[in-house]
């Protein structure tokens, strides 16, 4: 009888010890990105889908939200800003005016909801990748006297078809990779795929999205990996991929608290530097 009591006590005690050892006592969360620049010589790049999800298939940046978006861009002390869901050249010009005319701007060439690029000091020159992806913008970023030169592709991938996402993202990644480095390269944008969370409720082919992500991730460095979701509901859809051979990520992650109105994406920032 006494042996049985001791055995019971031993079992409960052992269980308690093991459960205590197995408890993660510190709450880990990715934490917000540090807005202080990681280094003066770093390139600070941001990608942000500034559209809204409402209505039939969502909408581009609403005019009433434009001033707040401009304020966020100005506060971020960016070197390069890639935006998705810009209504057209006229809206981009209004945004550029709100920021200051020293900003360079480029926009993708067709469609009602476009990808745009803005840079306060560098020159932006359009690149022709002949990828056949309409909601994309390929550019050469040149700040030779400052942080350097880069090839950048901004993309807003298809939201509904995993096959289209695979074609768009894969062809752009492949086309960009074919440019010999330097200058080094970045691939940024709203890719509309989430591999970290269980995205099967939102994808028509989750495995194809995995293949798409890994096609890029096996050769590029995912700057925002492990930094938390960037879009509703708790999905990481916005990416900054950098060329790992020549670029080092100093810090990266979503910048919370910048959404306006019914926007469903946070901006994602990264500070990268040449190795």
């Amino acid at each position: 009888m006494r042996r049985a009591v001791w055995l019971e006590v031993l079992l409960f005690t052992s269980a308690g010890v093991c459960l205590a050892l197995g408890t993660e006592w510190s709450l880990r969360s990715p934490g917000d990105i540090e807005m202080t620049r990681a280094a003066d010589s770093a390139l600070r790049v941001m990608t942000w889908n500034v559209g809204s999800p409402g209505g039939r298939g969502g909408s581009a940046l609403r005019s009433v939200h434009l001033p707040m978006v401009a304020e966020s861009i100005a506060r971020a002390e960016l070197d390069l800003c890639i935006l998705q869901e810009i209504a057209g050249p006229a809206q981009l010009e209004r945004l550029r005016s709100a920021l200051g005319t020293e900003w360079s701007a480029l926009i993708s060439e067709s469609g009602s909801r476009r990808v745009a690029a803005l840079a306060p000091r560098a020159t932006l020159e359009r690149l022709d990748l002949s990828s056949g992806v309409s909601r994309s913008l390929a550019l050469a970023f040149d700040d030779s006297e400052g942080i350097g030169s880069f090839f950048v592709v901004g993309l807003h991938a298809d939201a509904w078809s995993s096959r289209e996402r695979n074609r768009e993202i894969g062809s752009l990644a492949q086309a960009l990779a074919e440019f010999a480095a330097p200058p080094h390269k970045l691939l940024v944008g709203d890719f509309n795929l989430d591999v970290e969370q269980r995205g099967d409720l939102f994808s028509d082919d989750e495995h194809l999205d995995l293949e798409t992500y890994n096609f890029v991730a096996q050769h590029w460095l995912d700057a925002g990996l492990g930094k938390g979701p960037s879009a509703e509901p708790d999905r990481r859809l916005d990416y900054i991929f950098v060329d790992p051979a020549g670029l080092r990520v100093l810090q990266a992650g979503p910048w919370k608290g910048q959404r306006v109105g019914d926007m469903d994406h946070d901006p994602v920032l990264a500070d990268v530097r040449l190795r």
Binding site: A4, E8, L11, A15, L19, R167, I169, V195, E211, N214
Partner: protein, 278 residues
């Protein structure tokens, strides 16, 4: 008494049923893996941008897939069945009263069943692993193990393990997976101490396991995961990294062991206090 229990287990045919289920499962996995690999890498494949290529589809990748699904979904069912039958079955058939009149102490009876269960879990895990490796080697062939983000939720970044390293990791996976199997066995042993009928015990234990597994997989219940042992059943996945995070693996394994010991403690508490009523 351990020898007698082993004999009774063997004569019950339950281990054979588990072995047959594992073999059937591996055959199906092989057919699926082979046809999938052919469709992805054959000439008639529709082009797409992917990481899946001929070198990816090798015997070690097959082993990982087969072992992952077998160890998470197939074997825990059999472990839960065995735990449910052990005490409730002996109680219903009257064998428990026979043991107690011999007399054998309740502690000895209980610990014999615990040891037997642990051995069975280790054998089942080893059989699944060994047969998967053998089938992978003979039917598909060797190669290095590549793991990609999102696939089986095993890694956040691409991992490349040479074949020899991967095989050593599989060896460590065996005891880790055996522990993961032993926890549903302990839980069903606890359920078995309350049930008078083995059917009720097995049904309750298996359904509890499945409910916990499903709940742990749904992202809405993220806050519940630390309280469900099924969240840690695949802790051995951490071993398939180029640089293993041993502290994380040790923590999750400790938690799993803690759940198993807790179920065992609750089962023993109930078993040594209950009355065997005619």
């Amino acid at each position: 008494m351990l020898g007698l229990e082993c004999l009774r287990l063997w004569r019950s045919r339950r281990p054979l049923v588990a072995v047959f289920a594992v073999c059937f499962f591996i055959v199906l996995m092989l057919i699926g893996f082979y046809t999938y690999a052919q469709s992805r890498t054959g000439g008639e494949a529709e082009f797409r941008f992917t990481f899946e290529n001929r070198s990816y589809f090798n015997g070690l990748t097959f082993t990982l897939y087969a072992f992952y699904f077998g160890a998470i979904l197939i074997l825990p069912i059999f472990a839960a069945i065995e735990g449910g039958v052990q005490l409730a079955g002996d109680t219903a058939s009257g064998v428990m009263k026979l043991f107690l009149t011999r007399p054998l102490s309740r502690t000895r009876i209980f610990m014999t069943k615990v040891v037997l269960g642990a051995a069975l879990c280790a054998l089942l895990a080893g059989f699944l692993l060994g047969s998967s490796l053998l089938v992978g080697l003979l039917a598909i062939g060797w190669g290095d193990l590549d793991l990609y983000p999102g696939v089986l939720q095993m890694t956040a970044t691409h991992q490349h393990l040479p074949a020899e390293v991967a095989l050593r990791r599989f060896l460590i996976v065996w005891p880790a997976a055996s522990l993961a199997l032993w926890v549903p066995y302990s839980m069903s042993l606890w359920v078995s101490t309350w049930a008078k009928s083995p059917v009720n015990a097995v049904g309750s234990a298996v359904s509890m396991y499945l409910v916990m597994y499903v709940v742990a997989e749904i992202h809405f219940f993220e806050s519940l995961r630390p309280w469900l042992f099924t969240s840690y059943s695949a802790a051995w996945r951490a071993l398939f990294q180029e640089d293993v995070q041993w502290a994380v693996f040790g923590r999750d394994t400790a938690r799993l062991a803690g759940f198993g010991l807790l179920f065992l403690a609750l089962a023993f508490r109930r078993f040594r206090r209950r009355q065997e009523i005619a």
